[in-house]
């Protein structure tokens, strides 16, 4: 932090534990926050352009390369959108395996964020390495839990990172009985580990902040499931929005300071996607193991404190592990690894729930299966404005904090969203200007 005349600047050159290249700039004085800008300066990656001219079957594998943490989400949204374009219905066994695969990714991603990236904020340490010194048991349990998630993705997807077994219409290869039995055994201890992690997370000191005005949550909803692959998109104000109508309601626009498009409902209202939104809109369908634990711990929807997202994320790990066990126990193999459909030109849309929130894909394909147009809207892009609003609303009560604490709180507030600015580098420069 430096002072120059009447202005005051706090600078953080390296904000660790956030994905991608970005910066935060806040301009304020003793009474007001004048401006908050989450600057994403990482260059555009042009994946939508790469997809043009490629075969529709390539979309799951190309888009999976967008993210090493949530490749399954990209694959799921891609296959569902292609199947929508081709009016292709998959067998129940395939849907079963897709949910199981998604559980693996939620476990991998959430455990990494909860225990390695976000928890250090609450413990006032700089990194997971420091946390391992003070809380080795938590880190060891998290590693074991993450291993369980990795195992699911490896068995169903062919490998732990960037799986290669997902196909439009199903899977290239189905897991055999022996592989699933071994996977079941690997998951045996995971539920206890997930519950233990969640209980530990609730012992952390969560900063007090109640969002006012309330968040507008947006998530998939489903009659019987806590949604991953399927469901109707709903808002916490009761709107139901079909995937085919997504682009009419969620309007992206460019802001000068960011290379990630901002997305607003009806072009004017910020909204919040991810675990907090799913928890708020789907609590009744949370797995009983997670719901019971939530009740025992006194966690109920809607949750208005974004710093408590770490607890909600941990509960979703319990949900994912318990659901994975149920899916493994109830699995009936499909008659074939995948189904096919006659090629035809068309447009397909899909929304699935990535660990960080809804991920929208839309494709136009030609009669020969070539992709002619693609559109992808990731969750972090949708949360950008809400992150900025959180900071704008919480800062007035934090101005008396020592400078280091103020800077830290801002970083922690960003990490509440587990933002994945990209899958590349991770430098975020934070500048606070007091005018």
């Amino acid at each position: 932090m430096s002072e120059n005349g009447g202005s005051k600047t706090i600078r953080v050159d390296y904000l660790a534990r956030v994905e991608g290249e970005g910066a935060l700039h806040i301009r304020y004085d003793n009474e007001h926050v004048h401006d908050v800008q989450l600057k994403i300066f990482e260059p555009p990656r042009f994946f939508e352009a790469f997809l043009r001219g490629r075969d529709y079957l390539e979309a799951p594998d190309i888009t999976a390369r967008i993210c090493g943490i949530c490749p399954v989400a990209y694959q799921m949204s891609a296959v569902h959108a292609m199947e929508d374009a081709l009016a292709l219905q998959v067998e129940p066994g395939v849907r079963h395996l897709r949910r199981l695969l998604y559980c693996g990714e939620w476990i991998e991603s959430h455990v990494l964020h909860v225990a390695m990236l976000h928890a250090p904020d609450f413990l006032k340490v700089d990194s997971a390495m420091d946390m391992a010194k003070t809380h080795p048991q938590v880190v060891q349990q998290a590693l074991a839990l993450k291993k369980a998630g990795n195992a699911i993705v490896r068995v169903l997807g062919g490998r732990e990172i960037h799986p290669i077994n997902v196909r439009v219409g199903g899977f290239y290869r189905l897991p055999d009985r022996r592989e699933l039995l071994e996977l079941r055994a690997e998951l045996a201890e995971a539920l206890t580990l997930a519950e233990t992690l969640t209980r530990w997370v609730t012992t952390l000191s969560v900063p007090a902040f109640m969002r006012d005005p309330a968040y507008l949550f947006v998530a998939l909803t489903h009659d019987t499931e806590y949604p991953m692959n399927l469901g109707t998109l709903r808002t916490s104000t009761g709107d139901a929005i079909a995937a085919s109508n997504y682009e009419q309601r969620f309007i992206e626009h460019h802001v000068e300071y960011s290379n990630a498009l901002h997305c607003l409902l009806d072009g004017k209202t910020p909204y919040f996607v991810g675990p907090m939104a799913r928890f708020a809109l789907n609590f009744a369908n949370l797995h009983p193991a997670a719901r019971t634990l939530a009740s025992e711990l006194g966690v109920a929807p809607p949750c208005a404190n974004p710093f408590a997202s770490i607890i909600v994320r941990a509960l979703e790990v319990v949900h994912a592990v318990a659901t994975a066990l149920d899916l493994l126990d109830g699995y009936q193999p499909p008659s074939a690894p995948f189904v096919t459909a006659e090629l035809k030109s068309g447009r397909g849309h899909a929304i699935t729930e990535a660990p960080r929130g809804i991920l929208y894909h839309r494709y136009d394909i030609a009669e020969d299966g070539r992709i002619t147009e693609a559109k992808i809207v990731p969750p972090t892009s949708q949360n950008q404005k809400t992150i900025e609003d959180d900071l704008r609303l919480m800062l007035p009560d934090l101005m008396d904090l020592p400078e280091d604490d103020l800077r830290h709180r801002c970083e922690q507030a960003i990490r509440n969203y587990d933002p994945c600015i990209s899958c590349a580098t991770h430098f975020l420069t934070l500048t606070l200007d007091k005018v």
């Binding site: 660790a16 534990r17 956030v18 994905e19 090493g68 943490i69 990494l112 990236l117 997971a128 390495m129 391992a132 010194k133 080795p136 880190v139 060891q140 590693l143 074991a144 993450k146 291993k147 990795n150 490998r159 732990e160 990172i161 960037h162 899958c423 590349a424 580098t425 991770h426």
Partner: protein, 168 residues
């Protein structure tokens, strides 16, 4: 105690970077049962889980340094004791990833590191997508595979070669 583990790290489709996985390919034909092989886990946090509770672990990876001719094999006999080479490594750009040195450091903090971790770095120069490794790296892969197979056989002297080894 779990059996010895050999880890090969690299991308088979990026020229000399294939060195680690190619050593594993050779060992599948040469080493006895009772030796675990792990091919490019992708997520180095998995290394920690993989080597927990092991006495001996061997890790093979391509390495790059201006003063090393391609195919030169750099050996760190026990990376848990000698961290000098790993300390000079460039760290990954992603905070969602660990490099090998960070995985070792994390394991030491958690007190679950193997008793001895031997690292073989095969000096590489070409990483073009789709290329095969250069002749010098291929020769190093062959030599190291034979030497390592002999060593592993001494660690599991009574075992016979598997007809069909399952990959972890």
């Amino acid at each position: 105690m779990k059996p010895p583990l050999v880890i090969g790290i690299g991308n088979r489709w990026r020229g000399d970077d294939a060195a680690g996985p190619m050593v594993l390919d050779a060992l599948r034909q040469l080493v006895p049962v009772g030796i675990d092989l792990l091919d490019s886990p992708g997520d180095n946090l998995s290394l920690i889980n993989a080597w927990t509770g092991r006495e001996r672990v061997f890790l093979i990876d391509a390495c790059s340094a201006d003063d090393l001719a391609p195919g030169t094999v750099v050996t760190i006999d026990n990376a848990l004791v000698d961290g000098s080479a790993l300390a000079r490594m460039r760290h990954p750009a992603s905070t969602h990833l660990l490099d090998v040195g960070q995985a070792i450091a994390m394991s030491k903090v958690l007190a679950n590191a193997p008793q001895r971790l031997t690292i073989y770095g095969i000096a590489a120069s070409e990483f073009e997508a789709g290329d095969r490794p250069c002749d010098a790296v291929l020769a190093a892969v062959n030599t190291l595979s034979r030497e390592l197979a002999s060593l592993l056989t001494t660690l599991r002297p009574g075992a016979t070669r598997p007809a069909n080894r399952r990959q972890r």
